[in-house]
């Protein structure tokens, strides 16, 4: 949607004002990303956001069109007026191509985690012409034959059998080692190991729990533990007695022997959770542990709360194995036994998976087992989602002091200050104990011993380009087949891992880590209020079809997801789940059913 002339003039004047202010003040910026841990480093940048990187034009969009060096109109979509209004739940106000290599995002409110979200595979960039041509049919070529800028391009997708990728010899970055990569899938861990041992696979995902020692003992193989980005917890709703008493909640915390549960039921590489944030997430409070196993203290706390003989309660859970909860019923049974020792008599209440999720979100479960895996590696995805002001009533009424810390951390670009606020939040969460974090479920990836550059990404987004098995073809085996290869409309890791090899986002995550690093954007910077984020594209990047990457491709790729009325807003399912999950609602959302 083109901006009106008046709105464009306001935007232009605002942009010039911000640029003028920026020249004389410090701004947050990333892009070199060497010290960024919370999405925005503290480097001062003097350059204007509207002029960096391109000499052809310095004007902000006017009427949505400014001629670039290439002669094309710059795209710009300004929906600022809709921020906070009825009918629009989204957090994006504006996306504009400032020039051919500069894109600016303006948010409705501060978003300190924006770089971390932008790096996510769902926001990969496609050629705007291809989006218009192939994106208008649900499940069409955009989903089955994606075009990107990545180190690999899609050679063939033999449905049901394998995806074959071939090296992009015109890649703008470091060329991939293997000429061809095949991605296949096998649901059974034992079978995945056999494939690795037989040599048919060079690497396998999600090593079976029982196979860790076997692989470690095999000199022809190597095991790479994957840092956990999940947490398993025991939730309590403070709106339901007896969990309305803080001493009761703290008693539960002291009654749980976390290490025993991890040692008995979890794969190697898993850890007892010392707080809600996993260690790999920036904001994790090093050295802090919320609860120490102490049944005597638990009994004292229960007595102080008026329950010297304990009480009876239902513990709701779902019998569905997850990374954070590999053996639901044995774990629930063990927790039941542990709580019985302090007088809490638990009746296990198994619920169907979706029912449990719905009930938990609605605040209907006084006592339940659940967990969380990262969508993007930022503390806001864990803490704000569960304990922030807008959190669902899963744990009952929120806590003002926790809200305050999270609000401040979410609008502060200084990583050190954010870390301090999150450390304080960890203490408050331990004090109020809306839930007891118990374990971070680990996993591992295994490769043949001769593979150099093997990875075990905490985000399960291994990059095949640097992996070298000394041959032309590298074979990887994962859990399942991708549903589609258009990352914007996929949610499962099986699809995201494959499409990340083909398509790239403005930013990326470091190999084997969660730190945000440059990708298609060489650098970025934000306004002091963390509402405006400007990205400068790497010059000379080409898509696999030979067309050049420019700012319009970025704007269009985002617009297609953002606007539910866009003809190319089709994808595979049409849900674009991660967009709504990370950025609120769509523009022009379909009527609620």
């Amino acid at each position: 949607m083109r901006t009106s002339r008046r709105t464009s003039a306001i935007v232009m004047l605002s942009a010039l004002a911000i640029a003028a202010a920026a020249c004389g003040s410090s701004k947050s910026s990333g892009g070199n990303a060497a010290s960024s841990t919370s999405g925005a480093a503290a480097t001062t940048v003097a350059a204007s956001a509207t002029t960096a990187g391109n000499a052809a034009t310095t004007a902000a969009p006017s009427g949505g069109a400014t001629t670039t060096a290439a002669g094309g109109k710059l795209l710009s979509y300004d929906e600022s007026a809709k921020c906070g209004q009825k009918g629009y739940d989204g957090s994006i106000a504006k996306i504009e191509a400032i020039d051919a290599v500069t894109v600016k995002f303006t948010m409705c409110q501060a978003d300190v985690a924006f770089p971390s979200k932008v790096a996510f595979a769902s926001f990969a960039i496609s050629p705007s012409e291809y989006l218009d041509k192939a994106g208008t049919t649900a499940g069409g070529d955009l989903v089955n034959k994606p075009i990107g800028t990545g180190p690999y391009k899609l050679k063939a997708w033999d449905k049901g059998n394998q995806v074959i990728l071939e090296r992009n010899d015109d890649y703008w970055g470091t060329k991939a080692k293997a000429k061809t990569v095949t991605v296949r899938w096998q649901t059974e861990p034992a079978q995945r190991l056999v494939e690795l041992q037989s040599g048919q696979a060079d690497g396998i995902d999600n090593v079976g729990t029982d196979d860790f020692d076997k692989i470690k003992g095999d000199k022809t193989l190597q095991l790479l533990p994957r840092p956990a980005l999940n947490v398993f917890y025991l939730g309590m709703n403070r709106d339901a007695a007896p969990f309305d008493k803080e001493e009761v909640r703290q008693a539960v915390g002291a009654a749980i022997d976390k290490q025993r549960l991890v040692d008995t039921f979890y794969p190697k590489g898993s850890t007892a959770a010392s707080q809600f944030l996993p260690e790999a997430i920036p904001g994790y409070a090093k050295g802090f542990t919320d609860f120490t196993y102490n049944p005597d203290k638990a009994k004292q706390l229960l007595a102080a709360a008026g329950f010297p003989n304990g009480f009876e309660v239902n513990l709701s859970y779902r019998d569905k194995s997850r990374g954070y909860l590999p053996q639901p019923t044995p774990i629930a049974t063990d927790i039941q036994a542990q709580l019985a020792k302090v007088g809490i008599k638990v009746t296990l209440d198994v619920q169907e998976s979706t029912t449990l999720l719905d009930n938990a979100a609605a605040g209907k479960l006084p006592f339940h087992l659940l967990g969380w895996g990262a969508d993007y590696p930022d503390a806001t995805n864990f803490l704000d989602y569960h304990f922030g002001k807008g959190a669902k009533p899963q744990f009952g009424k929120g806590f003002d002091d926790i809200w305050k810390d999270l609000d401040q951390a979410g609008s502060n670009a200084d990583p050190a200050k954010r870390d301090a606020l999150y450390a304080d939040a960890a203490k408050l969460i331990a004090q109020h104990a809306p839930m007891i974090p118990i374990a971070n479920g680990g996993s591992a990836v295994a490769y043949k011993a001769e593979v150099k550059g093997g990875q075990a990404s905490p985000l399960s987004s291994e990059q095949f380009a640097p992996m070298d098995n000394g041959k032309d073809q590298f074979n990887f085996l994962q859990n399942g087949e991708p549903g589609g290869l258009y990352c914007a409309d996929e949610t499962d890791g099986e699809a995201l891992r494959v499409c990340e090899q083909i398509n790239e986002s403005l930013l990326g995550y470091e190999i084997n880590g969660t730190k945000v690093v440059p990708s298609l954007a060489d650098k970025y910077e934000s306004s002091a209020d963390l509402k405006e984020w400007t990205f400068h594209l790497h010059p000379g990047v080409k898509f696999h079809d030979g067309s050049a990457l420019d700012a319009n491709d970025v704007v269009r790729s985002w617009r297609v997801q953002w606007d539910a009325a866009d003809p190319a807003h089709k994808g595979r399912t049409g849900e674009f789940s991660y967009f709504t999950s990370l950025f609120g609602g769509f523009l022009n959302p379909p009527p609620a059913k």
């Binding site: 059998n161 037989s198 696979a201 169907e352 719905d358 709504t580 059913k593």
Partner: protein, 353 residues
């Protein structure tokens, strides 16, 4: 014969209708939500409401059933939630895989099972007979999952560097895709030709790509042997017991009395009649193999009907579950019918009524 065929086909309609209705209802009684299976457990209620409305899952079940039956009557089996492709397209891809595997397994079962049964019957009440019976019983009792894993471990891992080494899974080596034979001929085709092209061995022969044929055969050995154990045992036992009955008949005694050699008596005179019930068993086994190779397909990573059904059940992909179950049921009905017809051809004394 024509009246028989028509009557049997008409009689199969209510059977198939019953299967469709039962599968439809059972699929929806499964706990779980296709929305969550498709969009992930972080899908919001609003997203699920949209999904359910789009897929027609928010309508009452009788309405959904009526719409589905109407579609089936027009040869439309719906589309997969997950793959966003027609179920018929998925069937065209996956059914040939299972057909190839099932036929290979059945060939092994027949080529080994019948001789084993003949041997056991001929050496009735000897150690050889007892051994053959034990082998047959072990075959029936052996868990397929365990057998498949053991075969993989022995031939794909332990013997991987020897001439006996075999690939552990898949239909072809990673990175190889078989070009459909008609494309080699320079022709664009669909339908039956595309179906045939998914039978890799036949496709390789028609395309004159012997390397592909060899590669496909090597990949087929372990899963076919695994899948053949149960039908092999059943065929061996049936052959043995049927031949024992036949060898006790008067005409066999007469043939021996006439001085015919034992080989001629058993193979030429007795076996032909003894094989009649075995033909029935073979036909029924093919039907059950087509629908029930889930474990073998999962172990050996062969994306056929069984594995697709298993994944569809887990993903609550109702259309795929219903469509595939219906096609398997139709296959079973047709194979039953063909078995009866073959029986009458083999034994003119038998008349179909």
């Amino acid at each position: 014969m024509t009246r028989f065929l028509i009557r049997r086909l008409l009689a199969s309609i209510p059977v198939l209708l019953g299967i469709v209705v039962v599968t439809f209802v059972l699929a929806r009684l499964l706990p779980g939500n296709p929305c969550v299976a498709e969009l992930g457990e972080k899908a919001t209620q609003a997203q699920c409401a949209q999904f359910n409305h789009r897929e027609g899952l928010d309508k009452p079940i009788p309405v959904q059933l009526g719409k589905y039956l109407n579609k089936v009557a027009h040869a439309d089996l719906g589309a997969s939630f997950r793959q966003r492709r027609p179920v018929t397209t998925l069937l065209a891809e996956r059914l040939p895989v299972t057909v190839e595997l099932s036929i290979a397994a059945l060939i092994i079962a027949v080529l080994i099972g019948i001789p084993l049964g003949v041997f056991a019957a001929y050496r009735h009440n000897t150690l050889a007979d007892a051994s053959a019976v034990v082998v047959a019983n072990v075959g029936v009792s052996m868990p397929i999952f365990w057998l498949g894993l053991m075969l993989q471990y022995v031939f794909a891992v332990t013997l991987k560097r020897s001439p006996l080494g075999l690939p552990p899974s898949g239909r072809l080596d990673p990175g190889i895709i078989a070009t459909p034979f008609f494309e080699r001929w320079g022709v664009h085709a669909n339908g039956v030709f595309r179906f045939v092209s998914r039978l890799l061995i036949l496709n390789g022969i028609l395309a004159w790509k012997w390397a592909i044929v060899g590669n496909a055969l090597r990949h087929l050995v372990l899963p076919a042997v695994t899948l053949s154990t149960i039908p092999l045992a059943i065929i061996a036992r049936m052959t043995r017991s049927s031949l024992l009955d036949t060898l006790g008949l008067d005409y066999v005694r007469t043939a021996r009395a006439k001085g015919l050699g034992e080989f001629l008596v058993v193979i030429k005179h007795a076996l032909r009649n003894a094989l009649l019930p075995v033909v029935t068993i073979v036909g029924l086994q093919l039907g059950s193999l087509l629908g029930g190779a889930i474990l073998t397909e999962t172990i050996f990573n062969i994306t056929g009907v069984g594995q697709t059904l298993y994944e569809a059940i887990g993903a609550r992909d109702y259309s795929v579950v219903q469509g595939f179950t219906l096609v398997v049921a139709i296959g079973f009905v047709v194979l039953n019918l063909l078995t009866d017809i073959v029986y009458t051809v083999l034994d003119p004394r038998v008349r179909v009524t």
